[in-house]
């Protein structure tokens, strides 16, 4: 039997690019994104439990594992992930918007307003 837990995370051959000045930032982002993924997984599992309870009133673990969303539920859960990602990537999205912003800084604005 392969030690699947250890081997699942094997490193790919080839030097990994370093994206930030401090390698600890690279590592922390990897951890944050993995946790973000696991929170999404928990949320989806809870959604399964809620849907099954709605439909059946009582459930087993096997029911959860066997659950397959229908078209409507699949789309609703997709939306759930999309909305969740929009929330956790808010800072990235706002950095993007900031690049397009032409206006003055708050400091400049405050000076300007004071002298009005």
């Amino acid at each position: 039997m392969v030690d699947w837990i250890a081997r699942a995370g094997a490193k790919a051959k080839g030097k990994r690019p370093q994206y930030f000045e401090d390698p600890a930032v690279d590592r922390t982002l990897s951890i944050v994104m993995a946790i973000a993924g696991e929170v999404a997984v928990l949320r989806e599992r809870l959604d399964t439990v809620e849907r099954l309870l709605d439909a059946k009133g009582t459930i087993s673990r096997a029911d959860i594992e066997a659950y397959t969303p229908d078209r409507q539920a699949g789309a609703e859960r997709g939306l759930l992930h999309k909305e969740y990602l929009a929330r956790i990537l808010r800072g990235v999205q706002q950095d993007m918007e900031a690049m397009a912003e032409k206006g003055p800084s708050v400091e400049e604005l405050s000076r300007e307003l004071r002298d009005l």
Binding site: K11, A12, G37, G78, M99
Partner: protein, 414 residues
């Protein structure tokens, strides 16, 4: 909000005989990744903003001129905090896809190997040859950050590489290749039916077939055609053969062989020779060799077709070349950059095809749009979109007399 904004759930992926069993949370991980990749593709607009508003102006101020190629843009962009953060997120999504896929596959490797054996043992449609070496351009680095690449084994004789590759394509493309990841192959069937209605090739060769997901639709569309899929990676072939058998593609034979050496086949043996998304995984010397061998084994009147992402040309803006190059440097695709700058047409001419027999056409994945909606919402996920350029040629029916062979220098001048 339209339905195309959200990828379908992983449970919509079709099952075949060697599909891994997917636990609830494993499916949810892929659902998260499909959505994450879609979000990151949407954020790619930030790279262009960073370039236009600060990277390009800073470069021009420093050098007194615009960047002269995609490499200068890359070096400048790699200092930009936005581009760094986006790249780090995207790299993580690739690494998570591999961890998530491997975790699912390896925990049930015993069962998967047993399933594959049921389809493989005693069949003459799987021919493995341990003397075929994995070329250095496949072994030096793990392509797509895929630990062990296409040929890696967790234990001798396993199918882990093929199974992991197959199950994760959904997460990377957000379902863009359809329920069986075969939207590329389905597109080829669609294309040939329009291009040459009624044509039935006698023999088809698919070079660099990996798990055969792009060739199964052709084998099923032409059940009387002898179809050969070759690759150097045994674990991918073992899995691909079992997968194809379970899908009923009995006329499809998987052979462990390098596209650089097709000496097992005589001149003019195949009516159709193709690669799909393979040329960019070849070294600079291997690529022309594969094309030369492919032309040699093509029958007069036969078809050569290479599905690829579009080549860089002088018409393509340098910024677009830079962003299309992202995978080369961030997703372990060492040949991507150089390959896409090659003049493929001249390489095909040099391999013996007359220039006027060449063509380039656009091919879009054909998928069940009820379940896997077309994702043409205007966001191009460079290198992952299910839209390709097909570089092809119809070999002349009569070989040109020796004296009339097209000279490469003339062809290039033309």
């Amino acid at each position: 909000m339209s339905a195309t904004d959200v990828p379908p759930p992983y449970s919509a992926v079709a099952r075949h005989g060697v599909s891994p069993d997917v636990a609830h949370d494993e499916a949810a991980r892929f659902n998260f990744l499909a959505n994450l990749n879609k979000a990151l593709a949407g954020f790619s607009a930030g790279n262009k903003l960073a370039y236009d508003t600060r990277v390009l102006p800073a470069f021009e101020a420093e050098h007194g001129r615009a960047p002269k190629d995609r490499f200068e843009i890359r070096h400048a962009m790699n200092r930009d905090p936005w581009h760094r953060y986006w790249s780090a997120l995207k790299r993580n999504s690739m690494e998570m896809r591999q961890q998530n896929g491997r975790s699912m596959v390896l925990r049930q490797l015993d069962e998967l190997d047993a399933k594959a054996r049921q389809y493989n043992e005693g069949r003459d449609t799987l021919v493995l040859d341990p003397s075929v070496a994995v070329p250095r351009y496949q072994s030096a680095i793990d392509i797509h950050c895929m630990p062990g690449s296409y040929h890696g084994e967790e234990r001798p004789g396993d199918v882990s590489a093929g199974a992991n590759y197959d199950c994760g394509i959904f997460a990377t493309t957000g379902g863009g290749l359809g329920a069986l990841n075969d939207g590329g192959g389905a597109a080829l069937v669609d294309w040939i039916r329009r291009e040459r209605p009624g044509w039935v090739p006698k023999r088809i060769l698919d070079i660099g077939a990996t798990i055969g997901h792009n060739i199964v639709p052709l084998a099923l569309a032409f059940p009387d055609t002898e179809v050969i899929a070759i690759d150097t990676a045994a674990p991918s072939l073992r899995y691909g053969h079992a997968r194809a058998q379970s899908l009923g593609a009995y006329n499809l034979k998987f052979v462990q062989m390098s596209g650089e050496d097709l000496s097992a086949y005589p001149d003019g043996h195949f009516d159709w020779v193709q690669t799909t998304m393979f040329l960019h995984e070849l070294s600079g010397t291997a690529l022309p060799r594969v094309i030369r061998e492919g032309v040699r084994v093509m029958a007069p009147g036969g078809l050569m077709l290479h599905l690829e992402q579009p080549q860089y040309s002088d018409d393509m803006p340098l910024y677009e070349q830079f962003i299309r190059d992202w995978d080369a440097f961030n997703n372990n695709e060492p040949f991507w950059s150089a390959m896409h700058a090659l003049d493929l047409k001249s390489i095909m001419v040099e391999a013996g095809l007359p220039r006027d027999s060449l063509f380039v056409t656009g091919v879009r994945a054909v998928v069940d749009e009820e379940i896997f909606p077309r994702q043409d919402t205007g966001v191009e996920d460079h290198g992952r979109a299910a839209v390709w350029s097909a570089y092809g040629a119809w070999k002349p029916s009569c070989p040109l007399p020796e004296g009339e062979r097209v000279d490469l220098r003339e062809a290039q001048a033309g």
